[in-house]
């Protein structure tokens, strides 16, 4: 049993979806590259050529991951996590600044982005910590420690500044929630997010009024004895405080370009040639796709190079333009399918370690997928996160591959667990 070949236990559905996504990604990078009088032969100086090299190296990476004993990841998770923190810390000294963000290491002509690898490391560390039978997330001390594991990389990534990557780590809270973190953490976060958006759309006074009505209704409806007027009042005061501080932070602490990003999304100031350019262009490109798109290599917006960063964060625009609604739908379903599949596999793990890790993988993939595509289709502010497996870039491709395949390895190995 123990020496059974790895391949027979691998979840081929996951691998198939992964492969399809990588191939689609590469095709669209190719299309995005074919802009100005490009000749149709393989050019390794072009993005699509480089991405092909990354994909080939990826295969090697996958083989290595699958070969390593799955216990290795559990045993060395702390070391891996520590190493990734050191790498993030090292950026402050050795990091290379690209487009104002100091989040790359330059190795020759290549650049590596350690935050892409830190995601897998954090997921491992979290899994390791939570799988300890002593740890109970009902315990406040353990809650704090678990949150600290998430907070450490965030604290190192935020000042780079890379709010997009930091946001991904926050979503590890979903994992904690699954493992028994009290629900009010999530609810607080959720209500805070809603209040945040409402404050930006309407005046803070009205937000508080609405909150007051909501709490009052809740208070009157609850027929139980514990009509706790003091608790309700405290909640309202906290909410008011939050709303006003959001208003204050937004107006006084945020830089103009941050404000702009939100304002565009909320339809407040629409400046199509300035800050709103990216979103507007990507909406135009996607919107022009129609039902079935303009066809592979036929996208006028793609060919015209109108969408900035089209091969990286905005790769989805090419799909939208050239493959239309049908193609976009298929892609969205592939992602949703992959994430649900990973969740399904995670729930069926025999060890808590691999379950938590699988959950972490799903959370990371989901956040990337949702934040990226929401941004591209204009329902989320412009936050630069890559689309997993598809966006151009070695670091992100390898980062996601490592993340996913460690889990595939664990899953393949679950028959050996008891």
């Amino acid at each position: 049993m123990k020496n059974q070949s790895v391949s027979s236990n691998i979840d081929w559905i996951t691998v198939a979806i992964y492969t399809v996504l990588v191939v689609i990604g590469w095709m669209n990078i190719y299309s995005a590259d074919m802009t100005t009088n490009s000749e149709y032969y393989l050019d390794f100086n072009q993005n699509y050529g480089k991405q092909l090299i990354f994909i080939c190296l990826n295969v090697v990476l996958i083989i290595v991951i699958l070969t390593i004993d799955s216990k290795f990841y559990e045993k060395f998770s702390s070391v891996i996590f520590g190493a990734s923190l050191v790498l993030l810390l090292g950026l402050f000294v050795f990091g290379k600044t690209i487009a104002g963000q100091r989040c790359w290491y330059a190795i020759g002509s290549m650049t590596l982005q350690p935050s892409e690898f830190a995601k897998a490391a954090t997921a491992l560390a979290l899994a390791k910590y939570l799988s300890d039978s002593q740890v109970n997330l009902k315990n406040i001390k353990h809650q704090i420690l678990a949150l600290l594991i998430i907070a450490l990389p965030i604290l190192l990534i935020l000042p780079q500044p890379d709010p997009g990557s930091a946001l991904i780590f926050i979503m590890f809270i979903l994992v904690l929630n699954r493992e028994g973190l009290p629900s009010w953490y999530l609810w607080t976060g959720f209500i805070a997010a809603i209040l945040f958006v409402m404050t930006l759309v309407i005046k803070p006074q009205y937000v508080i009024l609405i909150a007051f009505i909501g709490i009052a209704l809740h208070y009157l409806k609850s027929r139980r004895i514990n009509r706790n007027i003091i608790a309700s009042t405290i909640v309202l005061v906290l909410m008011s405080g939050f709303v006003f501080s959001v208003d204050y932070v937004f107006e006084n602490v945020f830089k103009q370009h941050h404000r702009d990003r939100f304002n565009i999304l909320l339809g407040k100031d629409v400046d199509m040639d300035g800050i709103g350019y990216n979103t507007n262009q990507s909406e135009i490109a996607i919107g022009s796709g129609g039902w079935i798109g303009k066809g592979f290599l036929e996208g006028t917006q793609t060919k015209g190079n109108f969408v900035p960063e089209q091969h990286t964060d905005y790769i989805f625009t090419t799909v939208g333009e050239e493959w239309g609604f049908v193609g976009s739908l298929v892609l969205v379903l592939l992602f949703v399918g992959l994430i649900l599949r990973v969740l399904y596999l995670a729930e069926n793990q025999k060890t808590k370690f691999s379950r938590v890790y699988g959950y972490g993988v799903a959370a990371v993939l989901f956040t990337h997928f949702f934040v990226n595509i929401s941004m591209v289709v204009g329902i989320f502010p412009t936050i630069g996160v890559p689309l997993p497996f598809m966006s151009y870039g070695g670091s992100s491709l390898w980062g996601f591959t490592i993340l996913l395949f460690i889990f595939i390895k664990m899953d393949a190995n679950k028959v050996n667990e008891w």
Binding site: T36, R178, G287, T300, Q301, N305, V377, G378
Partner: protein, 646 residues
């Protein structure tokens, strides 16, 4: 529950994204439209502007090619700067400066590197153009004027500004279009239609190729050549005669309404508004508020017409049957009317009938005629309106509908005018008697005066004056081929024409006779006041002359006005006869007269009265302004009075 939370979120998020995609891609098609707009750039191909010919087929306005070297800084590759500079004969510093300027404008969009090369430079550069990537030659077509005259007739070419672009979507910023003169009126015909090329471009404005193999492209349509009714020789001659004077000459062919010349003075050489100096020169012309060279006096200047108006007074009187050719009035070097009021007259006095009344320009005769015309009606208001209706049938007091973009209505008073002036009523015909001799409330533009003479020459009808004779491939507007008949019967013109002929025999212009030509004309001297320091001062009057010739089968009707020229017969008269000679005989025999006119300069007069003159130009306006000022001052006073008490 906890197990289902994340899967639930994933599914909801997936649905949300799909819904958004459905909206973007299927429901809302504004994005599709935007996509077409941005990635497909439209490039225009400008056709050559149509030529302008005179009535005899003489080419007046053509085009000259002009070559600009354009640069797209971003596309500049390594070039041999020394060779480049030598070729264009510029220094290296120039080169650097110009490139920097272009970069400031835009590194990606083309801007003019060096404007208006001559043909030699162009040829030399063209040969090596391919060596200088990032530079290319843009051919433009500029106006090339064949004569130094007619600036006001032609107008000029300018670049479309934002206001024009907003009003007319045909024009894009920077397009050339005609302004003033026939360039404006016949802009659509002259400019042709620009061709459109759809070129697929990327975000950096780099061209990728034609969009859909040029399926939507159109070819430029050449502008049409037009022929004007202007006689280039007459126009030139008129401008020469008006040198150092201010005023206008307008001549009309009575049988067709064709404008033979349209002179305004001072004017300018149309060539100075072409090319690189255009903007600077235009500003200079525009800012010359004294001479106002851009102000077309032949169309825009409203003057009290003076004595030529007596022709209309006579015709209205005859038509109303209050006088006939034998009616006579006594002139006591003027005549008394109303309560002790007196209108002076220079005719010499005596008993005047129509014939000599016109010839001698007798104020008393026409004053009486006017009073009889009005007083034929027991109600003065009715009388004035009946009189006014006759004048309006001559095209007075209204835009005449000619095909030039500027104009003024002039002014013919009606009973309404006087009801406003005398709100308490009680005004009589005598209050308006100045109208009889072309003063009072009457204002006319030179083109109205010329048209009046055309009507007299035609004995009662006219065609709307126009300047277009032929547009290649299309008919001229039907309104220029429609006869307008006046309210005066043909028979009443005969005695008036006889009187006008007498003017050159024994009348006010007897010394302006031209051998072998029977001219019918009328002198005019328009009094001219200015307000100087609040006092009304009389300036040297405007010299007016109207005429048509020959008496039998008239070929030309003309009006000449010279500002502050004095009596009608001194300056405007000689100019008129010279113009008639020039047009009818094609040569001028009255060489002495010609020499005298050419040498006459009124510049001294204008300089002396420059301030007063300015006021007189706006006499009507100034009056209104001063009234307003008084009202405002009163208001201010009353405000001031209130203030201290509070």
């Amino acid at each position: 529950m906890r197990k289902l939370l994340l899967p639930g979120i994933v599914i909801v998020a997936g649905i949300l994204i799909i819904a958004r995609l459905f909206f973007l891609q299927i429901i809302d098609d504004t994005f599709k439209l935007k996509s077409e707009n941005i990635s497909i750039k439209i490039k225009y191909d400008y056709p050559e502007r149509g030529y302008i010919y005179d009535r005899n087929g003489e080419l007046m306005v053509a085009n000259q090619p002009s070559y600009d070297i354009m640069v797209v800084p971003r596309e500049i590759k390594k070039i041999d700067t020394v060779e480049f500079c030598t070729l264009l004969n510029i220094t290296k510093e120039d080169f650097v400066k110009k490139i920097e300027k272009a970069v400031v404008y835009s590194p990606m969009l083309p801007s003019v590197f060096l404007g208006q090369l001559n043909k030699l430079e162009y040829a030399a550069f063209q040969e090596k153009e391919r060596k200088f990537e990032g530079f290319y030659i843009q051919k433009r077509s500029l106006r090339d004027y064949q004569l130094n005259a007619g600036a006001n007739v032609f107008g000029f070419i300018t670049q479309a500004n934002e206001a024009i672009v907003a009003k007319n979507p045909y024009y894009k910023s920077g397009d050339l279009l005609g302004k003033q003169g026939v360039e404006e009126t016949y802009e659509v015909e002259l400019r042709g239609t620009k061709g459109v090329k759809h070129i697929q471009r990327n975000r950096f404005n780099q061209e990728i190729g034609p969009y859909k193999e040029g399926k939507y492209d159109t070819i430029a349509l050449q502008g049409k050549d037009i022929t004007l009714t202007i006689d280039a020789e007459l126009q030139k001659y008129g401008e020469a005669l008006m040198k150092n004077k201010r005023g206008g000459i307008i001549a009309i062919e009575p049988s067709t309404g064709e404008i033979l010349c349209l002179v305004t003075a001072p004017s300018y050489d149309p060539a100075i508004l072409v090319g690189r100096q255009r903007s600077r020169n235009y500003t200079k012309l525009y800012n010359d508020s004294l001479a106002k060279p851009l102000y077309d006096r032949s169309l825009l200047a409203e003057y009290p017409p003076g004595s030529p108006f007596k022709i209309l007074t006579a015709l209205a009187g005859l038509q109303s049957q209050v006088i006939d050719t034998s009616s006579s009035f006594v002139c006591n070097r003027g005549f008394s009317y109303g309560r002790g009021r007196f209108m002076g007259c220079h005719c010499g006095g005596g008993v005047r009938k129509l014939h000599m009344g016109i010839a001698k320009s007798c104020n008393a005769y026409f004053g009486n005629t006017y009073l009889r015309t009005i007083n034929k009606y027991t109600n003065t208001a009715e009388g004035v309106d009946a009189w006014s209706a006759h004048l309006k049938s001559f095209g007075m007091g209204q835009f005449m509908g000619y095909d030039l973009p500027t104009g003024r209505r002039g002014k013919i008073p009606t009973s309404e005018t006087y009801k406003k002036m005398y709100p308490n009523g009680g005004w009589r015909a005598t209050a308006t008697v100045s109208n009889s001799i072309g003063q009072g409330e009457v204002l006319m533009t030179p083109i109205q005066l010329a048209n009046m003479m055309a009507i007299v020459a035609n004995e009662g009808y006219y065609y709307t004056p126009h300047i277009i004779k032929k547009i290649k491939g299309q008919n001229i507007d039907v309104k220029f081929r429609t006869k307008h008949v006046t309210t005066i019967d043909k028979k009443y013109f005969k005695p008036v024409i006889e009187g006008l002929a007498e003017v050159f025999k024994t009348g006010t212009a007897y010394f302006l006779k031209v051998d072998g030509m029977e001219i019918c004309g009328k002198t005019g001297t328009a009094d001219n006041f200015a307000r100087v320091n609040g006092k009304q001062v009389m300036l040297k009057p405007h010299s007016v002359f109207v005429a048509f010739a020959p008496k039998k089968n008239p070929k030309i009707a003309i009006a000449v006005l010279v500002e502050n020229g004095g009596y009608g017969s001194t300056v405007a008269g000689p100019i008129t006869t010279l113009m008639l000679e020039k047009y009818i005989n094609k040569k001028v025999l009255m060489k002495d007269r010609e020499k005298r006119v050419l040498e006459t300069s009124l510049q001294g007069e204008y300089n002396r009265f420059s301030k007063k003159y300015l006021d007189s130009m706006y006499r009507v306006k100034v009056r209104k302004d001063s009234i307003l000022r008084v009202i405002n001052a009163k208001k201010l006073d009353s405000i001031k009075k209130i203030k201290p008490t509070t």
